[in-house]
Amino acid sequence: MRTTRLHLLHMFSGAVIAVLLGIHMVILHLDAVLGFFGIDATEPTSWGAMMERASQGIWVGIYIALLAFVLYHAFYGLRGIILELSPSVRTGRIITRVFIIVGIITLIWGAYVPIALLSS
């Protein structure tokens, strides 16, 4: 049931991305909409506001979770497209290993900044 579990995780990650990206968009880019509902989010993209969010564990968690789910969703989807266009067991094995390595490196690299900011 390995492929089924991976595919279900792919679908689940899509739903999680929609939620996390929704939070990101509303807080950072749709502050005018928030203002309409009486929520004050003055200059959410300013340096000070960003540093303030970086000092809160919940935001660090959201950023790292978004990065992890986006990486999984993107690489698993891309792997499926490549496997369909050049179907072979060998290609599948190579593509899977390359994407796992690149994904882990990108996740560590991307997660380093919010973790460093949180601990500073």
């Binding site: 049931m1 492929t3 089924t4 595919h7 369909e84 266009l85």
Partner: protein, 275 residues
């Protein structure tokens, strides 16, 4: 009632013989067509009167055997099931089914499809010895039969595989025919072999590679819905992976009825023969 005079229809038939070394090309034949003439009738006319070297596969001529699948006006059809009149064209393009290797002219090699079909174990699998030493019939309610009945009408013509866009791009994809048959046996309450079949379809080129284009269901000449079967198979796999699948033992044998109702007697003949 007067019979309308036959009109002339041009068949543009793709010719290809791998032994010749020539690339596929088209040849035109003009055939007489009247109401009710099928594409297969036209091809038989060509073979009998115009070019006996034309190769195509046919058998039952009534949409049962699934031999005469071909691409007619760029859409996969059974030639015996397609009347020329309903295509509303005086020129028909006739090509072999795509996504299958060509043997000659309109004859394709269906062995790859049959091998995939075989791989999903299209037969009842049970752990007991009832199949080897049968004692009675397996119990099956009409509603249990209805869960898979339409998929049991598959004639293995290969039209769904030819229509499938995923089969066109991924030669390792199991294809709608095999996946629908996998569901047909997994949904059968007499069967206990879903684990063995799940092992085959739960792969990178298996059931999750279906894009749900629905072309298989649209093209199926028997009116089956392989796309639905694939979605139901996905549901079975997802339930199994998430541990939500209810464990149901396969149906047990049903003892033969002790009481047999008497047959309804034949009515009296109303027309008496001369004595």
């Amino acid at each position: 009632m007067t019979e309308s005079s036959p009109k002339q229809v041009t068949f543009r038939v793709q010719r290809y013989d791998p032994e010749d070394g020539t690339s596929p090309h088209f040849e035109e034949f003009t055939i007489p067509s009247s109401r009710g003439t099928t594409v297969l009738d036209g091809l038989i006319y060509i073979k009998e009167n115009l070019d006996s070297t034309l190769a195509f596969r046919t058998s039952c001529r009534m949409g049962i055997c699934g031999s005469c699948g071909m691409l007619i006006n760029n859409y996969p059809h059974l030639a015996c099931h397609t009347q020329i009149e309903e295509l509303h064209s005086d020129t028909l393009s006739i090509k072999p089914l795509p996504n299958q290797p060509i043997i000659k002219d309109l004859v394709v090699d269906l062995m790859p499809m049959f091998n995939v079909h075989k791989s999903i174990k299209p037969y009842i699998i049970r752990q007991d010895t009832e199949l080897e030493n049968p004692t009675a019939e397996f119990g099956q309610l009409p509603q249990e039969l209805n869960t898979f009945l339409q998929f049991a009408y598959c004639i293995k013509c290969g039209i769904c595989v030819s229509a499938c866009p995923t089969s066109a791009s991924d030669r390792l994809f199991l294809g709608p025919q095999a996946l629908a048959q996998c569901y047909r046996y997994c949904a059968d309450n007499r069967d206990d072999g879903h684990q063995e079949r799940f092992h085959v379809v739960d792969t990178d080129h298996g059931v999750w590679h279906c894009h749900l284009a629905g072309a298989c269901s649209e093209a199926c000449p028997k009116g089956l819905d392989p796309a639905l079967a694939i979605q139901l198979l996905k549901r079975q796999l997802a339930s199994q992976a998430l541990g939500l699948r209810k464990k149901q033992p396969p149906s047990s044998v049903v003892p033969p009825p002790t009481e047999i109702k008497p047959k309804i007697p034949f009515p009296e003949f109303t027309v008496k023969g001369d004595k």
